[in-house]
């Protein structure tokens, strides 16, 4: 009995995150997601891609459906600037919440085209995919609210605000879970033993990327970093695989957040890889509506 009680205390209360969330929290989330995309796009000189060799172009996702003539137009400096400007304009319009289902759907389409485009010169990397899926969720649930509202034109019930929020958290944690499962099953025990992690880190460090700390290739000279990498990978994989627990356990979330934030920051230092979009989405791993009554749906 004592053991059961101790485990219960450790696990803490189990409650679905954002279950009490109301329209204010949903509006803040929409604002955050759209604003983050706006900042990302404002920092992106997309038109420079017109200079990239066409030989390196292999279309990703919906861009595979476009004819070559359309791709030729898109990959000019004017075409790329137009896509960037149009996407920015729609995202700014999304901040006003006017005709949100239509505007957010348009934003989802344009952002999908943008995200596919920037991946068509290399591998389909994971950065900002969950942020894109968050836009899908906001658009999809906005339409669902419109279809399912008791009478068209009236506001959706406040309790429905939790649906997109929980879905975004579910997608965020599922993305980690699938990464963890893939590594555990595909890589097997050999990924967690031997030199694999050092080799990955040195490879990423030598390649550079946008952030180039130029530190990671020194790893073999630093035994404590080698130890950190080797011992850290199984721990991180365990947290990745069990990430869906974030939906249920507040205690788990308070361990998950600092561990994974440290992991992402160390990835930046040693591997030049920075998932800052996911890190900002961690704000949704805090159950704001339980802490601030103003953010709750006013349901009796």
């Amino acid at each position: 009995m004592r053991i059961a009680q101790t485990i219960r205390n450790l696990v803490g209360p189990l409650a679905l995150i954002h279950e009490q969330a109301g329209p204010r929290l949903l509006r803040l989330t929409r604002l955050g997601v759209f604003a983050l995309w706006i900042v990302k796009l404002l920092l992106d000189p997309l038109w420079r891609l017109a200079e990239m060799p066409r030989e390196m172009w292999t279309p990703v996702g919906i861009l595979r459906l476009l004819p070559d003539s359309a791709i030729d137009v898109l990959l000019t400096s004017t075409g790329l600037s137009t896509l960037l400007a149009a996407t920015l304009a729609v995202l700014v319009l999304g901040l006003t919440y006017k005709a949100f289902p239509v505007v957010s759907t348009l934003a989802a389409v344009l952002l999908t085209a943008y995200s596919s485009l920037i991946r068509s010169f290399g591998p389909a990397v994971h950065t900002d995919i969950v942020l894109l899926l968050a836009v899908y969720a906001l658009a999809g649930f906005a339409w669902a609210d419109w279809f399912a509202s008791p009478s068209s034109g009236k506001k959706a019930p406040a309790a429905w605000s939790s649906f997109p929020l929980i879905t975004i958290v579910a997608m965020l944690t599922l993305s980690y879970c699938l990464v963890g499962l893939n590594r555990t099953v595909n890589g097997g025990i050999n990924v967690f033993t031997g030199d694999t992690m050092e080799a990955w880190a040195i490879d990423a460090s030598l390649r550079g990327y946008y952030f180039n700390t130029n530190i990671g290739w020194h790893i073999p000279e630093w035994p404590w970093v080698v130890f950190l990498l080797r011992s850290g990978l199984p721990v991180i994989t365990l947290f990745e695989t069990t990430a869906p627990l974030c939906l249920a356990s507040s205690h788990y979330r308070w361990i998950f957040i600092p561990v994974m934030l440290s992991f992402h920051l160390l990835s930046l230092v040693f591997m030049n890889i920075f998932f800052f979009d996911d890190m900002l989405l961690y704000l949704l791993l805090i159950d704001w509506s339980r802490r601030f009554p103003a953010l709750r749906a006013k349901v009796v």
Binding site: L16, W200, G208, H218
Partner: protein, 214 residues
Amino acid sequence: MSKPTSTPSRLHPAIAVAIIGFCLVTIIWMVSFAIPLRLAGQAYLLIIILLAYRYWPPMIRWVAAMPVAHRVVFGLLVGGMIFGHYTLNGRAYFPFVVWEIFPFVHEDDPVTCRQFIATTANGTKVRLIVEQLFPSIVQVDPVDALDNPKLYRPGTTEELVHALAKVYNEQHPDNPVESVDLMLMSVQLHPPANESRAEPSCELLKQYEISSDR
């Protein structure tokens, strides 16, 4: 006269677990002929996680409170992620991709990487990184992949060098790039004890001259 009470035949829990275990192993073994275990194994573990939520009362309550339209959206998004992962095709169904980070053993020793090192008009050496000069691109394929005729047309590396130099020179018109060296950098995973280097070992593979009129 009381009825004789019939005691139900009880299966010992250990035997029940053994039977269930045997059945599961048999099913997994049979399925492995059709679907590789590296794929099916992930699916089994994911099913366990999904089942845990399927029977968790707050989740049941939450899903039950959803109108049908909302359930469809939830199902499409989460289902799309799972579907995309198991297609093993990271590009076709973007953003429903294969989720993999460090999924296999990296055994190369030394670890090597090709880098572009440019020499500018005043003799300064600068490294040209695709992701820095074209920040839209999160990651390109490794430079050595560009020489793979199955993946890229011959001459792609040279095209990329000129694209990098052009963008660099637009940003630094006072000190443009005049030549670019393709270097092979290598780092040993097990260097001699107490060895510390300022730079990785490097070997010149090729040099490209950059003409200003290009």
